[in-house]
Symmetry: C2
Subunit: 425 residues, 2 copies
């Protein structure tokens, strides 16, 4: 379907055909859901041996009884695992509770209220403190900024990460910019992996930015590859060491999409100065994380080889779903101007851009037809996608058949909305 | 030993005898610890069947798969258990993560920053916001206030709870008082159980206090009885309903000292308005608590009868340690003016008051002799015990023999410090 070369008769004919198809879909009373980036039941079952894995042995390698209070840093085994996942030293890792989102919130709150380098560095001292948000991005990151009163400034994503020319220019000219959100590998939702050059340029921001600048590096999909030859992500901390900017980056990860969603172990990594400052405040609100669950994970994953083998099982479950989405998009929209998308090699999402002004309409039409999509705009700060074009597709939870059914509806809705828009012009 | 009737010769003789005894103690190179209110290994072993209890069945009674994301309230089974422990309705309970301290911190932070009844009710709007702290009390409560910039005002504890005449007078005259810490059952450290009259008077504070007033009711030892005929605590929420003050109380509890310390389930209870407001903010920083661990606890404790039976096993382990402490205190100081203490019927502590001005000296002397006690002053806001007399004794972790050995040292130190003080006068 090439809208550009179509005359009004052709457009009207397409509109009629697609409307008829949409009516048939409505009659099917579908109930399908492509909204949530969460694991399917099949994936969760991969970790069923976690419960009971301790077999009465509650001691870590260094002899700590994990059943009792204490240990704000988490157990050594899990700090090592976090270090391996994030490419840092174990002494630079805090292994926490069940949520990296909680660690991110607490870290930003710490930066706002108390400051990572003492009271003078608290962002609350800066009227109009701002944060850079590559878009499209992750809605829960945006909500954290909003809750903490940090203004969000968007930066476009490219195929190699955020547009670094723009990032550097903004940071150099505005010291009220206190940091930037990054999902550096299989970015939510575009699936982009930041190039080595991008990672190095981000590591160097600490030298041009405000001294209290912090990159929030949410490496949520560090080991979530769908390809057998995954694109590797450079270690930002290694670049920071080269450029003397170790204090400018805070990293996050969790096992939520490795073992159990909401019952895993979250990690925060940073320079020892950053961790020491954070822990001083954290110790007011907790005596320590659930070390019993940490030890379960340590027994389940004695090393990274075990993690990688485990992730291949996830990939085997997820890949057919991603393939189904991509096949539908390819068949319907290749060589058309009706949409753009990335072909991600990992992560949980496929990001689709409609023609400008159509995302909300498509999401609404799909919903009426029984296919729930993430609300249009959710991938932008304040829910405001200025082009109204981005839709995040999350295919992991439905079965392959359900993904197939949902994508038929999606394709119909995109086509129909596009034709109607063309007719109105 | 009656210092009052002793002449200087007698005092000097006692000083010499006690010093000799202290020297002998020093030579023993003891290493004993009465500092931490945490369970002993024997107690932790009572919950060893938690790990593996799920046996592959991850569904709650209502069919929720606990392995996936979601459910900020916690699972229904645990909300019911929390309701039973705290004397409220399940709809008034949030079952959270592994730490009630975290919930208390988050709740106070919410009150300060956002307000439980909208922005206008945020405590940050009040310059010089204050909190009442019955003393002696729990140091971690005080740290939460300090971290959040809330000034602390002390109120004396009596044998029936905080001095309510004083509490009511202060609240009536100062609307900057935003709340009060309470450990209503087996109070940390005095072991006092609040009387029904005290509970009702606290429930009525909402009618005389500032409209954003919140009692933080930390019922940490709700089921931690050492007696077979425990003193019961009235339900404060029932009194609140009578007096129309449901929004003025937030309750907290956890299973940390029921199952595993730091790997249990924490509860927060409040009016539905309070919970709704709290959850709206909480949802920014987490997708939900570890429901897998909640389900383990629900299977372990199908009802309150199971909880109570389990707590009797704890009591059997703890009681001999408490008895040893009390026997030593009784033998050494009954009918003397050298110290005062309560005989707690539950909880984790025995609170001992030396003669004024001696707590720091006694703690230091005991430390030099190899017996670590909680730092003097820790039971008061800002670490400041104006009389320098309160010492918290926590006997659960050491063995009975170790408690016995430590108390011999403690008694010697109290006597020696008291005699030396008398000689200086």
């Amino acid at each position: 379907m090439q809208l550009e070369n179509a005359n009004d008769d052709q457009l009207r004919q397409w509109e009629q055909e697609l409307s008829t198809e949409y009516q048939h879909i409505l009659e099917q009373n579908l109930k399908l859901d492509l909204t949530r980036g969460k694991p399917s039941t099949e994936q969760l079952c991969l970790s069923d041996t976690l419960d009971g894995i301790l077999k009465g042995n509650y001691c870590t390698a260094n002899g700590t009884d994990v059943r009792n209070y204490g240990g704000l840093d988490g157990i050594e085994e899990m700090r090592q695992l976090g270090a391996d996942i994030l490419g840092v030293e174990p002494t630079e890792v805090l292994a926490g509770g069940n949520s990296s989102l909680t660690l991110m919130f607490q870290a930003m709150q710490h930066a706002v209220q108390y400051g990572f380098a003492g009271e003078e560095s608290a962002w609350k001292n800066t009227t109009g403190a701002k944060f850079l948000c590559p878009v499209p991005g992750y809605d829960r990151h945006f909500t954290v900024c909003e809750q903490l009163g940090i203004e969000m400034i968007t930066v476009p994503m490219t195929a190699t990460g955020p547009d670094m020319d723009e990032v550097e220019a903004m940071i150099a000219h505005d010291k009220r910019i206190k940091g930037m959100w990054c999902v550096p590998k299989y970015s939510n939702p575009t699936g982009v992996v930041y190039s080595d050059e991008t990672v190095e340029r981000i590591a160097k921001l600490g030298n041009i930015a405000s001294s209290d600048f912090k990159v929030f590096w949410d490496n949520a999909y560090a080991v979530h590859d769908l390809s057998e030859t995954p694109q590797t992500l450079a270690s930002i901390m290694d670049y920071c060491r080269q450029h003397g900017t170790e204090d400018s980056v805070l990293q996050f990860a969790s096992t939520s999409k490795i073992t159990l969603a909401g019952a895993g172990v979250a990690f925060m990594a940073g320079s020892q100065a950053n961790l020491a400052s954070f822990k001083k405040a954290l110790g007011t609100s907790t005596i320590g994380p659930d070390k019993v669950n940490q030890l379960r994970h340590a027994r389940f994953f004695p090393d990274m080889a075990t993690v990688n083998k485990h992730m291949q099982k996830h990939a085997a479950i997820i890949k057919p779903r991603f393939s189904s989405v991509l096949r539908h998009l390819e068949n319907a929209f290749a060589n058309s101007e009706l949409g753009h998308w990335e072909n991600p090699k990992g992560g949980y999402f496929i990001s689709f851009d409609t023609r400008p002004g159509l995302a909300k309409t498509v999401v609404m039409m799909a919903k009426e037809a029984g296919v729930v999509l993430t609300p249009a705009g959710a991938t932008f700060p304040y829910g405001n996608d200025p082009e109204d074009c981005n839709i995040r597709i999350a295919p992991t939870v439905p079965s392959v058949e359900e993904v197939d059914g949902a994508m038929k509806v999606f394709v119909n809705c995109v086509r129909l909305a596009s034709v109607r828009q063309a007719l109105e012009k």
